[in-house]
């Protein structure tokens, strides 16, 4: 019940006991000068779980996890818990939320022009924001922070652990670069038509969905044109060309089916024109269930918004059916889930996985949608998303079956540091 923040890993570290099951661990003569057996240094942290859901489809029973220097150094099933080692019911990899929405306010995006692909949101991330710790407490260990969707193209997102050094650059993960933008009513929401004399710059910004779509197309066309005509070059043109070359993931917020359509058509138009092929991720794609064929055709990845009681969500009034995740996965699409941050209310990312299971998703698929799938989007599958030797020691510790309404995350480890003590 009581959260002990920033509890140092040392609290849980045994005072270097001999590993009971280490091979060749025999009593040594104190003065024996002969070479010690090549035993690994004592673990920084050891944890025992009745079940470890590795994320590779495997469930390890009674597994002992050892952590050294922030990485999982060993993972051995069929062990009893050594004395003093924290024991939990279940362990999964720490969860990843690609739509954490931790922007501080409207200043989290530069609005002087509507296309700002070169700006990095890292400059406006506040690591002192309590929501990082709140997310960490719910078992979310990695998040993608994106610019606020008040611009058409808001800029670059930044992937961060929810706990770590209090400096963005030190905490930033070397993830695949993300270019973030939006389609729908939000990018034009604060803008207005100019009647008579324009009074401010919002009157020249797009005021409709078609204006927003035009800005997207113009940005890519201009970026391509600028390659031939250097005098046309503009800040961010290189980012857009990288996106066209598939070196940068383009993550577009599109709640409704008409906006999802616009995003996919934009990508297809770029392909048709020979400009390139966007690596497209639809964020908040609530209505992806309405026209999944389009997404299948374009192999689009979908990040779903949180499930709501009535189904409606977002400023565009999109309808998220609870079987959406299952329906998309059945059609071979990659789906990630999101709780849209650490907002009020108990619906955490773990609960979202449960709700997706209520909509028919299997446990393994639900686990993938909050761990391995988002890790792959970030290009960090070699570090995050699974529980295996060599992976980052980002772990969610559960007091029962993960994602069940009757269990919850009771402990959290990030980079080998116990952020929430399970005891």
């Amino acid at each position: 019940m009581i959260w002990t923040p920033f509890l140092h890993a040392a609290c849980l570290t045994l005072c270097a006991p001999p590993l009971q099951d280490a091979p060749g661990a025999e009593p040594q003569e104190p003065e024996a000068p002969k070479a010690q057996p090549a035993a690994a240094p004592p673990a920084d942290l050891r944890l025992h779980a009745e079940r470890v859901y590795t994320g590779t489809g495997e469930i390890l029973k009674n597994a002992l996890i050892e952590v050294r220097e922030g990485k999982i150094s060993s993972l051995r099933p069929g062990r009893s818990a050594p004395e003093g080692v924290p024991q939990v019911k279940a362990i999964t990899a720490g969860m990843i939320d690609l739509s954490a929405r931790l922007h501080s306010n409207f200043n989290s995006v530069e609005q002087s022009t509507e296309v700002q692909p070169h700006l990095d949101v890292a400059g406006s991330v506040n690591l002192y924001d309590k929501r990082f710790a709140r997310l960490a407490r719910t078992g979310v260990t990695t998040i993608l922070v994106n610019p606020l969707d008040r611009n058409v193209i808001g800029g670059r997102g930044v992937a961060l652990k929810t706990h770590g050094p209090m400096e963005v650059e030190a905490r930033r993960l070397k993830a695949r670069p993300i270019l973030r933008g939006a389609i729908g009513s939000e990018p034009s929401a604060a803008n207005h038509a100019a009647f008579g004399r324009p009074t401010d710059f919002y009157s020249r910004r797009p005021t409709t969905r078609m204006g927003v779509e035009w800005e997207w197309r113009k940005a890519f066309f201009d970026a391509v044109a600028a390659k031939r005509l250097p005098e046309m070059d503009f800040p961010g043109a290189e980012d857009l060309r990288e996106a066209l070359a598939g070196k940068r993931t383009v993550m577009i917020q599109a709640w409704t089916t008409q906006d999802i359509r616009t995003a996919v058509y934009l990508d297809e138009e770029m392909q048709r024109e020979g400009f390139g092929d966007l690596d497209l991720v639809i964020d908040a794609g609530a209505e992806a269930w309405k026209e999944p064929a389009m997404l299948v055709r374009n192999s689009t990845i979908v990040v779903l918004p949180p499930h709501t009681a009535g189904g409606r969500i977002g400023s565009d009034g999109a309808f998220l059916a609870w079987n959406t995740a299952n329906q998309l996965v059945e059609q071979g699409l990659t789906v990630c889930l999101s709780a849209h941050g650490a907002g009020p209310g108990p619906a955490t990312l773990g609960h979202q996985a449960g709700f997706a299971m209520r909509g028919g998703l299997s446990f393994d698929q639900a686990l993938a949608a909050v761990t391995t799938a988002p890790a792959a989007v970030l290009g960090l599958s070699d570090r995050l998303g699974t529980v295996a030797e060599g992976m980052d020691a980002d772990l969610a510790l559960w007091n029962g079956r993960p994602f069940a309404a009757t269990s919850r995350v009771t402990g959290v480890v990030i980079d080998g540091t116990v952020v929430v003590n399970p005891r």
Binding site: P5, A321, P346
Partner: protein, 486 residues
Amino acid sequence: MIQQSTSLLQRIAKTHLALTLGLLGCSFLLSAQAEAGEKYAVRAGTVHTLAGDAITNGVIVIEGGRITAVGSADDVKIPWDAEVLDVPHLEAYPGFVEAHTSSGMDRPNESVAVAPFLNVRDSIDPVAFYFEDCLRSGVTTINVQQGNACIIGAVGMVVKPRGMTVEEMLVRPRSGLKISAAPKSGMSRATQAQTLRATFTGLRTHLEDLVQQKRSGNDYSRREALYQGRDLSGERGKGRAMMSKGWTVEGLELVPRGEVDEKQEPLLDLVEGRIPAWIYCGAPMDVRLALEIARDNGFLGRTVLVLDDSCWKAADLIAEAGVSVVLDSTLVRTETDPKTEEEEEVFIPGVFKDKGIPFALSSRNSSTESLWFQAAMCMAHGFTRAEALAAITATPASMLGLEGKVGCLCPGAAGNVLLTSGDPLSVTSFVEYVVIDGNLVYDRSTDIRTQHLLEGVVPEGTESHAEEPEVEEDTRKKAGDEGGSR
């Protein structure tokens, strides 16, 4: 028996509900419907009575709306003429009990700050979406009370989410008077407290005046009662000494009860312990005032506190007073240390459990606030299954004076049965059928709203264009049938 109940209901509909039931002494009403006389039986894979061990391959027999037998299929004989719901793949649970809500009313609050003479029965909307949603979430007994924005609010009633009129929905009339210890908007705490105290002083003055009038041979109150057309026959025409654990008015036996001002009468019922009080506390500081009012006026023993989530801080005071509480749907509250700004999460039901305070959960029926979900959250925070289920069945039932009548599957209880696809506290389980008073009132396979939410099925009649008219016709016919069976 059934005939009697029906005629009773008709009488209630015709005469003044409050007056009639004052005489009945709030007896548990079996609001029988025409079909409740029929026999109904459920045969389920497992029957969880919540009043003993689970019964594998169990049978529940309901006659006249009430459960007459529960047991193993080997032991309990299903009457030959009973309609049988045979669902060996499902689990049976008693319907959940909502201890306090202001949903289902036309508007939850009245602008008159002190209005004990009002009754929520005039505001309950039987076709409110809320009641339909209750069935999906497995809630079959609901205590509807006025909203929290009052000083003294209306008299509430217990209903079931079934019926096209309030009378059909009735489970128990006059389930208590709503009081708020938190300031109504526009009032200060001091004014709220003073008005609360003054209201009871006002009742006392009124009663003393009546006694004084009788003693001085003044017949004004009788003439006023007759002028207003109040019933002064039978018990209403007789005086009775005041029975209160708080203060008393000597000589009240001189005053026929029918002569007590109608606007004051629910307050007198409260002070004399005939109806309970549901006192809302919006902050820990309100708890003290709530307890003071209840204690001073002798109804502490019949008080339930309806708490804002911040009120866990007053748990010691509540435990000392020995009252029960209804929690709001925020189960985990984040408190921030003002100095260090460190956050601490408090699991509120855990605080009350540890202090031994009986508590009920309450819901708004959203995905994360439904009773089942909240009970599941209690388990996630270390409650046993029995403790978690009690907070949505037995405990609220006992707060409503309906222990053994709702919230369990036992002989004598209302025939309210949920049939779930699995553990009702699991996210992957669904309420498949709901039986209320021995009538099948909900079948998920015909619930278009759930299908829309869960499967993205577009509700019939809202498609932008019809492609296969023949198929549509079939669906319409089916929907029509289902409408009839409700």
